[in-house]
Symmetry: none
Subunit: 213 residues, 4 copies
DNA sequence: AATGAATGAGAGTTCATTCAT
DNA sequence: AATGAATGAACTCTCATTCAT
């Protein structure tokens, strides 16, 4: 957790520092990210940095917290109110699109959260997960579990694996952005992208002609 | 590409050096991997290393090439002969299990290929992909395309996204191994794991009661 | 010397700050002791610290003053009243035991005074000795001089060297405590320890059989 | 232990680096000594230093080894040949003077060995003692034990305490040098200094008039 | 071809101290 | 008088890479 010193800072300055950190972590990942570059970018003294955070890992934890909480809230806001109005297909579509859009708008946050999720078995990331226990990085999984409980999703579907599959697919949007610039992540693109996921999740992958379930 | 000096080395020595590099990259990823540790482990002089390879990235490229080619061959050998005998469901199952088993037997190769795939949008990895163009790391995708061509797989399924979904799910096995040791990757576990993926790909995720496709 | 600001503090607060400093200096010695840790332990602001003391050295001087004066008084109280009643052997024994007991009870003060004595030729310590001139850290030497004056101790004995020898021996008790915990400094141990010093000072070290003085 | 890289260096360069380290450790003690200053003084790159030694502690261990071994040899050379010719008094005198002279000639080595002995209960020093087990830093104590075995020294004398007392006294010569410069450590001064120690060890400290043993 | 010593920039981190509030 | 944020130099140590032999 950041030290009190950091929390006492004017919110604007806090945000500026976190933004610089996000930039660095998004570009380089945890291991390669450099505190020196962050403080240089933020225009603060190195000593100051260590009055704000215990160490690199502490900062990273805070950034992850910030990224995931932010993501969660953004997505929830768009989705939660409509929870009951929609049938499941429409809802999943909305959920995925909502998250995709969020990703498209905050590509660096996306990059960092995916990186974090990908390394979730490594020491640093495990310690952070331990520290911010209540912080679910897995919005999909939670949702899927709920829908299974409500019998909208097939009880035989493994929610962990489903969540990983969706997550795996989502990485494509990142790749697309890397190739074509973030401005290429238009609504149209996100729509067509979600269509494709949705199709598989709805129909399965087999031609009707050859497959009898 | 390795320099000619490296290729002139007795094959045994080449393999030994690559094995040491695989070990290091598997444990630390590209960014953190240390040339110093590799040459120490291999018992060669630092100077020699730089007569074999241009730099760290050059070595990494060669390791990736080695890893992906190796994986591909191993998997193919087990699968290709039975290609025509099976219906699609059984085949996918065989394919996935085959790759899973390969993973279970060569966990470091697996680790490296997944790491590589995950970072495929980052500069180092993109340069390597460019260099080793013919090297498809995506066995699934190739296969899916073929099956679509043969009309076994629904033409509407996007093969790239499907491949990413399977790949995403596969990361679970890695995680499982990291937690429980590679000896935990028994045939039973792999079977049940593939069952779950297969279920989703066959049925889709929606309850029949609420969903009409 | 501490600034007036410090002396204006309620005595309780002064003591608390000094106690925290004693703790830190005892654990780390002058060089490694950290002002940051002291103010953190004491719960005062860093700025306040520098309104109380010029700098680290100023604080250290004050701590030494406090430690040595405290030690001196404690020891004197126990010893001085009996000064005339005892013969020299018994007195030295009492003196040493008294100081040992004091050490055993205030191990941190002991640690600091010994550290200070040991470094008495180094710049920081010399400046402090200069500043607190009247502060003799050498209770033994003073006493020996007195006893020589009263012709109880051989005039040929060099009091400085004798004092250093006793001091050297005393370090063993510190070492013993470090190994076995301060609770190991029982009366029995202190007794047997002083016996050994006393024996040498009384008999010299040579066997009667081989040595005629 | 230094790395092979260091041992491969031309002896001259090894010595030069160790001399620079001795200088630094003598002036500052282990904790404050700075690798940066040492490499600057020695004119080598920082990276080179870490190819020679594991870390600061490794260097320190080597310096201690060097210092103590050197001392031991020097002293032994002067003393051992005459071992049988002299009676004990004369021998102890010779031994002490020999060590004192050695100190006088290599004041920095002396400083370092005393510092090391003084901190023998602290983690760094204990690890070094463990590593260089066969390295006795206590020439006196060994000798005393031998003399007790040969019944020249009173069996009741505790050799550890005696050794500490002599060691304590010896610190005076260091102090004297610090005040008056090392050139003040003339043979005459060393002689008179040893006389005083010798006197106490021979006669004890009490006036014959007042003391009956 | 092989060696391994040399390099120096850069990493994360701690420090005593200053100064605006 | 009290605060605590700001500072930047200094620390130990690691790195990929070069180059003389």
């Amino acid at each position: 957790m950041p030290k009190q010193t950091f929390l006492n800072l004017p919110e604007e300055k806090q945000n500026w520092i976190i933004d610089c950190a996000v930039e660095e972590f998004a570009q380089n990942g945890y291991a390669v990210a450099s505190i020196s570059r962050i403080v240089a970018a933020a225009g603060i003294a190195k000593g100051s940095f260590y009055q704000y955070f215990e160490d690199k890992e502490d900062l990273y934890g805070h950034v992850i917290d910030y990224a995931l909480v932010k993501r969660k809230i953004q997505v929830s806001d768009q989705v939660s109110t409509k929870l009951e109005e929609l049938n499941l297909t429409a809802f999943i579509r909305l959920l995925i699109k909502s998250e995709m859009r969020e990703f498209a708008q905050r590509p660096k946050i996306l990059k960092i959260s995916m990186d974090y999720a990908r390394h979730r078995n490594e020491p640093v990331q495990m310690r952070i997960a331990e520290k911010y226990k209540d912080l679910s990085d897995n919005y999909f999984q939670n949702f899927i579990q709920r829908e299974k409980a409500r019998n909208k999703v097939d009880q035989n579907v493994d929610d962990d694996i489903l969540s990983l599959m969706i997550f795996g697919a989502a990485s494509k949007i990142n790749e697309y952005a890397a190739k074509n610039g973030y401005e290429a992540l238009t609504d149209e693109y996100v729509d067509s992208f979600v269509d494709k996921i949705e199709y598989i999740l709805t129909h399965g992958i087999y031609s009707n002609t050859t497959q009898t379930v």
